[in-house]
């Protein structure tokens, strides 16, 4: 089988921030009782991370776990690991009510880094990205321009974004526009 094609095949742009499409990435939507044992163990096995608190993302050895809603997590892992993760999850739930779905192909993932990254984010999300207000580990689903997206901050201060695959080009163009040279706001 050939390699999967990510939405933008790893496209990059350099402006006041560095924008890159992350390439194929594993993502599993996990729905269930977040306090239950299966959910904890599934997340830990797939990502090596503990469960995040509301509005957080926790990074582990093999991935990350993000809090999506009171009954939903997003597990990030290697693209190839996602199908096995779903199988494991389905087996772990057993008779318990839960849902695990591979959504790796449904989404586009971006990384935004560089000194003006906070400002680039501030142009397209109605979110307070000021230092102290948005720090590593924060995970927030919101509106990016005219599309739904989730944004978080990695331990190194760069931002991650996921959105639906079909609007990957819009997302990339919007990020590039917001990072055009000469457009730094100078507030953060």
């Amino acid at each position: 089988m050939s390699d999967p094609i990510s939405p933008l095949s790893g496209a990059r742009f350099d402006g006041i921030a560095h924008i890159e499409e992350a390439g194929p990435a594993g993502m599993i939507t996990l729905r269930g009782d977040l306090a239950s044992k299966p959910v904890k163990s599934i997340a830990a096995t797939v990502t090596g991370a503990k469960l995040p608190a509301q509005g957080q993302i926790v990074f582990g050895k093999t991935g990350a776990v993000a809090w999506m809603s009171p009954d939903e997590l997003m597990l990030f892992c290697a693209y190839e690991a996602a199908p096995a993760g779903v199988e494991l999850a389905t087996a772990s739930f057993g008779a318990a009510h839960g849902l695990a779905v591979d959504v790796s192909d449904a989404r586009a993932k971006f990384r935004i880094s560089g000194p003006a990254a906070r400002e680039v984010m501030g142009k397209i999300f109605p979110i307070d990205f000021a230092p102290g207000q948005f720090e590593p580990g924060r995970f927030r689903r919101s509106r990016m321009g005219q599309i739904a997206a989730a944004v978080w901050m990695e331990a190194d201060g760069s931002f991650g974004i996921i959105c639906f695959r079909s609007v990957a080009e819009y997302a990339f163009a919007l990020l590039n526009e917001s990072a055009l040279p000469g457009s730094a706001v100078g507030i953060y």
């Binding site: 509005g55 809603s69 009171p70 919101s142």
Partner: protein
């Protein structure tokens, strides 16, 4: 533009993240209901000048529905709470009564 706090994910966000869903605490009438009951369930709505209970969905956020108690005149938000309830919880009712002396739940209904 309003700010609402989603009780499901704890986020306070601007109105553009939310979708309005009309009046809250409407009882569903299905098969077996009279024409009048069904009409009122589907179409009859309060249009209060003052305290109002509304359904909202955090459409661009956690995707969950919740309820908001709001003043239609000043746009003051008395509180937001779970959509999985048949009437506003006591804390919300107390918060409204504190701001609008004399108000009681069900009086306008």
């Amino acid at each position: 533009m309003l700010i609402l706090t989603c009780p499901c994910c704890g986020v306070s966000a601007e109105e553009t993240e939310f979708a309005a869903g009309g009046e809250a605490h409407i009882t569903r009438f299905g098969p077996g209901a009279s024409d009048e009951e069904f009409r009122d369930y589907l179409f009859a709505r309060e249009n209060p000048k003052g305290v109002h209970f509304e359904r909202w969905r955090h459409a661009y956020g956690c995707g969950k529905w919740f309820h908001a108690a709001r003043c239609t005149v000043t746009l003051e938000v008395f509180g937001t709470y779970s959509a999985q309830t048949l009437e506003p919880p006591l804390a919300i009712r107390d918060a409204i009564a504190a701001r609008r002396p004399g108000w009681t739940w069900g009086a306008a209904e």
